[in-house]
Amino acid sequence: MSLPFYVNPEQMARDKSEYARKGIARGKSVVTLECGAGVLIVAENPLKLQKLGEIYDRIAFAGVGRFSEFERLRKMGVQWADVEGYRFSRDDVRGKALANLYAQALGEEFTRSSKPFEVEIVVAEVGDAELAGQEANAIYQVSFDGAIQDHEGYCVIGGSIHALQRHLETNYRANLELGAALRLGRDTLQRAENGNPNLRSGDLEVIVLDRRRSGRRFRRLPPEEVQQILG
């Protein structure tokens, strides 16, 4: 029996990261924005396969990269949230706990398997003014290697995000109304290198976690409504 070749772990991690980053860079970007209505997520996605999904009452999911992989992550999140809410109460299902679970799972997968996940995801949670201590929104970004970050105001995931981030840095304002936030989201996505510079309502997938609703806050904006807002 021959011994396996020694590979420097640092080198291996670098290779895997590079591989994952390449995969993610091919995909289109997703912009998450806090706004007056709650949290808005806008994705460039002309396809029927969805990148944005409902997890629980106040939690939404966004993924970029390889569809089958982030779709699996989304479903795991729904399973976790529904069991957690059934076991305890609906208020006990929190975005931070879910983001941490994702980070752990992705981190383990990154070190253990030879092919890392080619995904980047966002877990967004809208605040509830009635619940003391839970009034604020939260946006968590989890990367393919399990790195987790929280964001205030906005967050961009996907391929070439630098131009998008620069655009948001100068143009983002707190408490934008829904229409303005959606227009900002569209304008931001149009700056992506690999994106479409003339995005129309049919090219966008838009969801909002609406603060003013009770119970399930997740709402998918139908194309007609997006069209009407973008004019």
Binding site: Q50, Q79, D82, V83, Q104, A105
Partner: protein
Amino acid sequence: MHFWDGYRGTSFTELLEAEHPQLKPNLRHWFAEPGQLPPTASGTTCLALRFAGGALVAGDRLATMGNQVASRRIEKVFATDDYSLMAIAGAAGPAMEMARLIGIQFEHREKIEGAPLELEGKANTLAQLIRQNLPAAMQGLAVLPLFAGYDRRRRTGRVWKYEITGGRYEESEFECVGSGAIFARESLKVSFRENAQRADALRMAVQALTDAADEDRGTGGVDDERGIYPNVKFCTAEGVESAPDEEVAGAWREVLVARRRRRE
């Protein structure tokens, strides 16, 4: 969390069974021996009927334990999602657990698949849950719900009744369950009109519940003094809507006035 070996289906109850069996309500363990049933809350009249805009489900508020009141304000009518309603009769504990579970089941499937179940699919899901409860039902802990909703494909209200074996029967007009069902059914037999407007449907329902409460000691009537009124929920193309207490009270007064007039 595990990536590739977890449960992959769309059913919440199957997910519980596969991965969290300790959370699945298993009524078989509720009693030591057959026939040894602890006292449980029961007694009810619930009804469901079709009207022009969709379906209505109503229920009284009383829960009894033997010949005593267990609760005066119990809710027996639940919105299981935006377009379906369920009313429970029978053992209150397992019935309410079933209502909670079925609501999560619908929501879970909707989120996993990105689309809600069809109304018929929801009715079948409930039948499966009732069938699973059969061993407990044989011991006396039967759960007999009514299920109703608005079918968005066929643009009409639909109503189902069940039996403890999970048998499911669709009704074209109305159906009642619980200890006072026989009286409510007799009442509706006289008053029911097809394609009734919302207000008339409400009056028919309140009248039937009032008649049932008159004759059945397990059914609570309107308690004007404490401000307790039956639960009435409508399910239409716009979703589920609860009738406010004032509206139910108004319908109840109309019923009383009509009764008095009949006697005079």
